[in-house]
Amino acid sequence: MADAEAAEHPKYLQHHFSDAAQQRESSKLGMWIFLVTEVLFFGGLFTGYAIYHSWYPEIFHAASRVLDWRLGMVNTFILITSSLTFALAIRMLQVDRVKAAVWNLAATFALAGGFMVIKYIEYSHKFHVGQLPGKFYSYGGIDVANPHVFFSFYFMMTGLHGLHVLVGMGVILWLLIRTARGRFGASYHNPVEVAGLYWHLVDLVWIFLFPLLYLIA
């Protein structure tokens, strides 16, 4: 009986699914729902941001000035490009060009790394001058009451987003290795596809974060 099942079930098909289409649709739906929870997770922070921005617009305008919008802009381009290379990787798998897919995944990984390097530069500068959240705030250059509120939001939002980028990098690396080993091809590349959805969301969140934090001055 086990042999008979193996004959009609490809290796990648898990036993409880009746066919590959069901497995593929399930994993995609699962990822979409997960993305909904992610949106709500970030949504909590965005709501908090909106409320405090409406209470204290002067804090947000004044404090936003000290951020370097050029670094933010570069990071925006980097993430958009990485979304593109990820999409290309999936496309290459669909047409069974595994090698090209590997290169595109590698490019995505490198771009994500670049994003984190720039983030590191920004963070270390802020730590240095004391533009820190809440009670750690010690920077003297912003002339409004409670400027630390802005940096609380800045660090929580970019920190949570950065964590998502790091998790994404881990996933991309894992996919890269498996693709290089030939596990994925035109017939089966579900994991790459759903990870792509996740990566696009990470990109999208940044596209909202960038103007809200860097460009409101």
Partner: protein
């Protein structure tokens, strides 16, 4: 295999039972998931079988139910009379906090979805498993990690903030281990999210051929609506608790008035999750009640679509009523008006369900099996819980009874009189499916009677305490409340004894009870008609093909009913 399809119009429910390939020395079917999925502890801890994961959850969740119950009894003992009875206010404050946190996050939220939902959802839709079995197991481990964080707070410096963690007391007022219990709740949230995600995908993609949406058992509808709330609301709790942890650990100043923050904002964030969470707790219980009332009335459900859609209506409106927890905290009159109105609107779908269940009893053939006793006591107590909700939605009355024992009594009538009754009823209902054995009816009925009487003694008195003005979370109280408090505390002992007997009865039944065969109740949903008791590791040898609705008792020809508790089934001769 004619027994494996539910096609013949003239079938008998008692003959529509799955016939096992063979049976073991005790008469239990083989293979079954309890014995044939691996016998080692390791095989259980690494199992991907939704039924085994359900049982893993059951072990932990029931353990925490016991712990939370113990805290409750200690609280009630201290409240027997004013002043210090057994311990001081600091211990008392920790006990009621832990009672709330353990019961909410570790017991009642995972109880029905994670135990019974895991066990029956794939069976009821004719699937081999949930869509993501690995994620399902991971959810259990996440639950365990969250539980460890909560326990860490318990054994080091138990938190005393109340399970609601209101700022600024939780962020700067209390010097107890708030961070670990908050992180515990945060982590438990992810367990809940992943279970919900799994169920949504399972219901959408894993249904057996012929299992259309309107042939789904109402338990599945209820779990589906619950899963939507779990997925949409829990992330907001996650971010709120994370903010609280950051506030406490790093003083980010979002909720701290000393740094320009707003403590009431925390309440908004918190209740945005925690009010829908109330429906995470009650909706699956409503699903169980639909199963129990039809089965034990031998009667098709009245108003299937109304019950199914009222679950979805509750799920949606539940997101818009969170402000009714804050009628006295100084929201604008407009917000207060809106929240009050929506609160009344969310009462309607619950009322629809109660009316439909009551009408389902009409011209039924009602058997007083143990699960049905719990279902009927649900109708009794949930009605009280629901109606007293109207008092709390009515603004001017709410101002008087808000944060008094009236609220405590109301939510215990909904959560214990509703959810826990449904959960225990569900356990008694699916117990023979899980273990293939029946518990002792006499002691199960005795346990039910004690719980019913004890519960009503404990909590009805608290309605009167509340309207008389007794505030909640009080370690001591003025003399005039003593008689009612004493009465309430006595009731809690009766209820505790009932739950203890119930646990022993179920455990003894699982280990040594009478072997009862595949379909002892004569139910018509797939898990009873097509799966053995206990089911095979992969549920169904052949994927069932569904033609009838889940409660089509009217399509059956007349049969002979056994009175009361059904007797042992005529089992087919073991195939040796």
């Amino acid at each position: 295999m004619s027994e494996q399809t539910r096609s013949a119009a003239a079938e008998l429910p008692r003959s529509a039972v799955a016939v096992p390939e063979r049976t073991d020395e005790n008469g239990l079917p083989r293979p079954n998931f309890l014995r044939d999925g691996g016998g080692t502890l390791w095989s259980w801890l690494t199992t991907l079988d939704h039924k085994r994961i359900g049982i893993l959850y059951m072990i932990m969740v029931m353990l925490f139910f016991f712990v939370g119950g113990l805290f409750a009894l200690l609280v009630r003992l201290e409240l027997f009379a004013p002043g210090e009875q057994f311990f001081g206010p600091d211990t008392y404050n920790r006990l009621f906090t832990l009672h709330g946190a353990v019961m909410i996050f570790l017991f009642i939220i995972p109880s029905i979805p994670a135990i019974l939902g895991n066990f029956v959802l794939p069976l009821q839709i004719g699937a081999k498993d949930v869509a993501f079995p690995r994620l399902n197991l991971a959810s259990w481990y996440i639950y365990m990690i969250g539980a460890i964080f909560a326990l860490y707070s318990l054994v080091t410096n138990a938190a005393d903030t109340g399970w609601t963690f209101y700022t600024p007391y939780s962020s700067s007022g209390s010097d107890t281990a708030v961070i670990s219990i908050t992180l515990g709740a945060f982590i438990l949230g992810f367990s809940s999210i992943f279970t919900g995600l799994n169920f949504i995908v399972t219901v959408h993609k894993m249904r057996a051929p012929g299992m259309t949406w309107f042939k789904l058992p109402l338990m599945v509808w209820a779990l589906y609506a619950t899963a939507i709330i779990q997925v949409l609301a829990t992330p907001v709790l996650g971010i709120t608790l994370l903010l609280l942890v950051l506030e406490r650990a790093f003083g980010v100043g979002i909720f701290d008035p000393a740094m320009g923050g707003d403590p009431v904002l925390f309440q908004h964030f918190f209740w945005f999750y925690s009010h829908p969470a109330v429906y995470i707790m009650i909706l699956p219980g409503m699903g169980i009640i639909s199963e129990l009332i039809t089965t034990f009335s031998h009667r098709n459900i009245f108003g299937y679509k109304f019950i199914a859609f009222s679950s979805l209506a509750i799920a949606l409106v539940s997101f818009l009523v969170w402000g009714h927890h804050m009628f006295t905290s100084g929201q604008s009159e407009f917000a207060v008006m809106l929240f009050s109105f929506l609160t009344f609107m969310v009462a309607i779908p619950s009322a629809i369900k109660v009316f439909n269940w009551t009408t389902t009893l009409y011209k039924g053939s009602i058997s007083f099996s143990v699960p049905m006793l719990y279902a009927l006591s649900f109708l009794f107590m949930f009605t009280i819980g629901g109606l007293t909700g109207l008092f709390l939605g009515a603004l001017s009355v709410d101002v008087h009874v808000h944060d008094t024992y009236f609220v405590v009594a109301h939510f215990h009538y909904v959560m214990v009189g509703g959810t826990v009754m449904a959960f225990i009823g569900g356990l008694h209902y699916w117990w023979p499916k899980m273990f293939g054995r029946m518990y002792n009816r006499t002691s199960a009925v005795a346990a039910w009677a004690l719980v019913f009487v004890g519960f009503n003694m404990t909590f009805f008195a608290q309605f009167i305490l509340g309207t008389q003005g007794m505030p909640r979370r009080y370690w001591t109280y003025p003399e005039q409340f003593q008689s009612l408090h004493g009465f309430s505390s006595s009731g809690s002992l009766v209820m505790g004894l009932g739950f203890l007997i119930m646990g022993v009865t179920l455990l003894a039944g699982a280990l040594r009870g009478r072997v009862v065969g595949s379909n002892p109740w004569g139910s018509l949903t797939l898990e009873w008609t097509h799966a053995t008791s206990p089911p095979e590791p992969h549920n169904y040898p052949n994927t069932p093909v569904v033609e009838n609705g889940p409660y089509d008792f009217d399509k059956l020809v007349p049969r002979v009913d056994a009175p009361g508790e059904p007797g042992p089934e005529p089992e087919p001769a073991p195939a040796k």
